[in-house]
Symmetry: none
Subunit: 154 residues, 2 copies
DNA sequence: TGGATTTTTATGGGCGTCAATGGATCGTTA
DNA sequence: TAACGATCCATTGACGCCCATAAAAATCCA
């Protein structure tokens, strides 16, 4: 199973378009093909970061799974649905591998000039480059702290 | 199976007409075609929110299913039937993809200038934009609280 | 190994189509 | 005939689609 890895930074042009990094695109395509669905990127504001979460069909099905566990027409289901489906935007990839990020999403992540794509395994995130740099630095430090806990595995 | 996803906000004109977002329309059409039924939107006041629930044939059949589970002529069945069927309006979509929301429904959701369409998987809701924003915020907080319970999925 | 060539990516711009919206027309009915 | 509903028409702006250029990567060949 393919995973999103590495980070790439691309520009947003005057029309709000951004190229999805080619390696990510390849994964999305295989993913969509496997699910028999049309291509499309599912994108929503990250719950705990000034960034956007995104992924393909596999991610969409994961969300379906969460909601489907709850009984039809229950309050919990409606609430969860609003938060999960309601915030999701389906971005289509044009012939040149680009997407348009709507204003509402761009605002949440503070995106303007360029975007940093960050692979996270079964999904990826989109960050304002500056903010991501800060976050990455912090993450490095934490990893360093926890390194001994990992017990020299990989 | 197609799902209603994303949110869209459209205007209500002087005559009470609103454009149904094109992606939703596409789903409704496929849905109606699959069921061999004429197009039409089933719409009723949400039971637990100042909003309207709406959907196509698939939603109608789901409601049928809920009611059918209860024994014939039971009080529960009568009550549920009234609650679910009683307030349902079948709205027709005109040639330009618009529906007219009747006054009674509009009152329940407090709709006036514009409407926010919220995809919830197998149905969608129509909200007064301001109220929806509040609801969405609340829902996100709840999801955030329960995130670990959900197994870190989304 | 080094250099040349071909292929993929990223990015910018132009253009046609479709969706959203407002207004007009026509028919029906009270 | 006035009011309302349904169908049709027109405008505008957004979005999808195509092409052009340039940079980078991969490939090939001497």
């Amino acid at each position: 199973m393919d995973r999103f890895v590495s980070t790439f930074t691309n520009k947003i042009d005057a029309k709000g378009r951004v190229s999805v990094p080619a390696p990510f695109r390849a994964i999305l395509e295989r993913d969509a093909y496997a699910a028999g669905e049309s291509r499309g990127v599912y994108c929503y504001p990250s719950l705990d970061a000034p960034a956007l979460d995104a992924g393909g069909e596999r991610l969409a099905q994961k969300i379906d799974g969460l909601v489907a566990r709850l009984p039809d027409y229950s309050d919990e289901r409606d609430e969860l649905s609003v938060a999960l489906y309601g915030d999701v935007q389906v971005l289509s990839i044009d012939g040149d591998g680009r997407i348009v990020v709507p204003e509402s999403l761009r605002a949440h992540a503070g995106l303007s000039g360029s975007v940093t794509f960050v692979g996270l395994g079964d999904k990826f995130q989109m960050w304002e480059p500056g903010r991501f740099e800060a976050r990455r630095k912090l993450a490095r430090e934490k990893v360093h702290e926890h390194k001994r806990l990992l017990g020299g595995g990989a």
